[in-house]
Symmetry: C2
Subunit: 606 residues, 2 copies
């Protein structure tokens, strides 16, 4: 199926393909040879999906688009304050080739005008035996996700005709903005402008800036995260020559254009756009490029200053311990206590990226829960994609304040956040590998608080105390003891194998067993834990289906074995006993179904 987005881009391309306004740059002979009909549009998403239409794979020279990216390299080489002392970041209100140097210091107004870009070039260091231009090539290649090269013919042409830029170079040398003979800096600058890229490259470069500096396709970092906002900052205020104010006003995307016909635009945090069309307008911006970006911004609602949707609360699901319980079987009385008091355990399942704005509502919610009597708060981090330093700090402050109030807050399934949380001093006791483990700990602790005793049976249970035999008579008990045998398992033994036929049902008399299903590969997922007094494997036993899961001993386990043949024969020999057993089984399965229905309800609550 063809994506409607692809179709939309085709329509947009067709809308302007025949527009023949504007003029191909002719200030150097080589550029004037560009075919004015060439026209490509490309959008790259933050997760690396690329939509493209038209001449998106045609190479052209990057020209001034390089100024924005090379500025990132200068920042990485010299640091922000040093670079700011040489090159300003104020829009000049003048054309790109104006010699706008600040009175007194001679610092160029910003790195997007030629003077600023040449000064930027002078800030890049030759390093590790690589010349400046090699480093710039490699740096820009990181944004594009491929090896880039230089159009030598254009470079020659740039160099032969770059008299005005040479004058700028010498003025910069005069003011001490460039420290050495400007010749080499200027040649590097001419080569930088002559790097060959495609429209697709521009979109991916943009997506890299949208993705905190990580190329979304190669997944390699192209620019240190801390400088992304600086690069986008100068693009936002100075990227489109003396049309920058109007660009932000109308299009609302940090962008940079080049006289080669390229425009690179970025919706911060979201996507990159590349447009390529050589004919330029009077400000030197690609004419079709401006129109395409204006339409894209309006028709796809991409203006960064008026977002219709923004990160909201990170809470994905909220429920309490009376609704959702750990995947384990509890005795009916414990289950009832939890059903009644479970709201003292609250679970907030978070999602997406945690930042100030998405975590702040979580904080408020947690405070409300604490005020309402919550004693255990579980933050489920499973669906959290990332968390910045701010949200991590707020999370930990929340935890320490709650601790002071007697509320125990723990994290479950922190994944990648485990390391940073531990570095912030979160004790291992507040980190759980799974929500189940966290729930289990909270439930045990709550049950102890409420009932004053552990719910766990200790040692071996007599048959009378097993739920299945609850309504058995004294004679029934004698019969059970005489006719049924017990079986012992060591830790790790498998009591029941998935797929086998269900010829018996077991009653755990001591120890614990875990019910597991096999996931992908060797991965086993726990779906239930049972302890002394509980019946195992009764569902397949009763409905005759094959075993649906493995049951494994978690420690030394003793079970009473109820064979199918014996149970079948009861209909004839001791029907009242069979009725009593069936009745108890139905009661227990019904109770679990009721609980499961409550869970489904809680989980479906939007």
């Amino acid at each position: 199926m063809v994506s409607p987005i692809q179709e939309y881009l085709k329509t947009l391309h067709a809308r302007y393909a025949s527009v023949m306004d504007g003029h191909v740059a002719d200030y150097i002979p080589e550029l004037s040879k560009a075919d004015p009909r060439l026209f490509g549009i490309c959008i790259a998403t933050r997760d690396g999906h690329v939509y493209e239409v038209g001449d998106t794979r045609h190479s052209f020279t990057i020209q001034s688009v390089s100024k924005a990216l090379a500025y990132g390299l200068a920042l990485e080489d010299r640091g922000e304050e040093h670079v700011l002392s040489r090159i300003g970041v104020e829009p000049s209100g003048e054309a790109f080739n104006a010699i706008s140097l600040k009175e007194g210091t001679g610092a160029p107004f910003n790195p997007m005008i030629n003077a600023g870009a040449i000064a930027t070039c002078g800030q890049v260091l030759p390093k590790d035996e690589h010349s400046r231009i090699e480093r710039i090539l490699a740096y820009l290649g990181g944004f594009a996700g491929r090896t880039l090269d230089i159009d030598q013919a254009i470079y020659q042409s740039e160099s032969e005709t770059g008299h005005r830029n040479r004058a700028i170079g010498w003025l910069l040398r005069n003011f001490g903005i460039i420290d050495e003979d400007p010749h080499e800096t200027l040649e590097t600058y001419f080569q930088q402008c002559s790097i060959r890229v495609t429209c697709r490259d521009l979109a991916i470069m943009g997506a890299t800036l949208a993705n905190q500096g990580i190329n979304p396709i190669t997944q390699k970092r192209a620019i240190a995260a801390e400088y992304v906002d600086n690069v986008l900052g100068v693009m936002a205020t100075c990227g489109m020559y003396d049309w920058s104010g109007e660009w932000i006003y109308r299009v609302g995307l940090p962008a940079k254009s080049g006289v080669g016909g390229g425009i690179l635009a970025v919706l911060p945090g979201q996507l990159g756009i590349g447009v390529f069309s050589p004919p330029l307008d009077s400000q030197g911006n690609s004419l079709r490029g401006i129109r395409v970006c204006t339409d894209l911004s309006r028709e796809l609602a991409l203006h960064m200053l008026n977002p219709a949707a923004t990160p909201r609360t990170a809470v994905r699901l909220a429920y309490h311990g009376g609704e959702v319980m750990a995947r384990r079987r509890l005795p009916p009385s414990a289950r009832e206590t939890l059903r009644r008091c479970g709201s003292r355990i609250q679970i907030l399942a978070l999602q997406g990226g945690l930042i100030f704005t998405t975590f702040e509502p979580v904080l408020r919610r947690a405070m409300q829960l604490s005020d309402a009597g919550c004693l255990h708060l579980i933050l489920d981090l499973r669906a959290v994609v990332s968390a910045d330093a701010v949200s991590l700090r707020l999370m930990e402050e929340l935890r320490s304040r709650l601790t002071q109030l007697g509320v125990r807050m723990v994290y479950c399934q922190p994944g990648r956040l485990c390391q940073p949380l531990m570095e912030m001093g979160v004790p291992a006791s507040a980190l759980f590998a799974t929500e189940d483990a966290a729930l289990e700990a909270s439930e045990d602790s709550l049950l102890l608080e409420v009932t004053g005793a552990t719910w766990r049976p200790s040692g071996s249970l007599p048959l009378e105390e097993c739920a299945l035999f609850r309504s058995c008579t004294a004679e029934d008990m004698i019969l059970l003891r005489n006719e049924l045998s017990t079986r012992k398992y060591e830790m790790g033994d498998t009591l029941i194998h998935a797929g086998e036929s269900a010829d018996e049902m077991l009653v755990v008399l001591s120890g614990n067993v875990e019910v597991q299903i096999r996931g992908e590969g060797q991965n086993r997922q726990r779906i239930d834990v049972l302890t002394a007094g509980m019946t195992v494997g009764e569902m397949a036993f009763l409905d005759g289906s094959p075993r649906s899961a493995d049951v494994v001993a978690m420690d030394q386990v003793k079970c009473l074995v109820i064979p199918r043949a014996w149970f079948a024969a009861l209909t004839e020999t001791h029907p009242a006993l069979k009725i009593s057993l069936l009745h108890e089984l139905t009661r227990e399965i019904s109770a679990r179904l009721r609980q499961a229905n409550i869970e489904v309800g809680a989980l479906q609550r939007a």
Copy 2:
């Protein structure tokens, strides 16, 4: 519990409270009387929560902050193109009181310099018997969410000393940027600058701009949504005088400052910030204000150009029809068919705000599902907060393309989106009030496609075909017919009342019944639907608990009644029959528990 965010703001306030750098504005005598120690910081979230510390309720004059908001009123009165023809939007690179008029036209460079602001004032229309200044007062009051007034002493002082602004006014008149005698425009402008606000007002004004123009506290629209990006656009490029470039570079928030000591900053789509501190730096910006905003941006990671988290896919949950089924009871064979073929029904539960970037991944996911053989796609819109025109259009294009491929796509629980979807031509047959209704329709249609017949029993079922009696003998059937009676219900009759004791169990022989629980108020929620052949009320009947839900006849219903006394007596009189009935009940309840567990697993999948 005190919020850590509140605590953080207190620390930030303390950090700068004793800094005594900068000078209170003294170009008019009244302003120089401001107490330099006054200092307030306020953050207002998009949902109207306000954090504040220090002198946030102290009144001061709004001064140049008013320029940004009044520009919105001019746009609303005259339209974008008209206003742009009189006032540019390019940064001038010069100080606020420079007389930067464009060569030729005489248009001020932008509305944030005095010339542009006076021209903006001239664009506001007296209307409905209200003078310009009354309209400006009311307009700004909409942003603040309260009635504002003018500091008459400051106004007098402004008016008495505003010689340079009068010169600008006459120059604008000379170029035809102002159409009439500038006297009245200038007096309006002086009054506008003298409007009294608080630091809290500024934060709420900012939150209003962050919230697409709707005041988050009053929920009233302060500015048309279409002009929000224009106002923020001029703030972004020209809001902080000739420090605007550096502000975006370092702080990264559209903002406007005033010589009264106020700064209003906006994180688009997210929050508003107000800072108030009268001492100014050499550019005329509040000195503590700049420092506070710089720290806030860095320490809370608010720089708009490098967001750590952004709207991601709108998919909240994804599951298929073999995992989650409609809240109704299906005959075992139909349930099995769905378990096997249910992946041809796919449910995408969406959430948050739908915009291009959040809906684009939904589109891709839907295309993959279609390629993988999905025949029914349900978009659950219950948790969707908003959808812009772009995402609505893409949704409908997706639906029409899928229809061509033979995939039926429907929406459920569209809420507020119902109207816009219907206006786009979505037929009523593709809109469902609940996910259940959508699932039901998809399941019925899939079952028909797969099995070639409807699963619904028609007419009255003989006892033999009821699941409960599946393993009964011929003699059992005779006994049942002789000893048990039937009962009829009309549509709307209640078969079972929640809370009552469970003295009987019913088997539906014809018609349909709905199981309902009572929610808030009179609201009833369907949790199950049963049809002929199924057993009703068996769980409470077996475990002796009171009825947990109402059961209501959906049409004419005939039931077989199984009284508790009769069932109890069976143990003595016909134990084999009782065993057979209990066995079937357990089988059915087990099957439902298995299904519920699958649902819980699917819903907990992050």
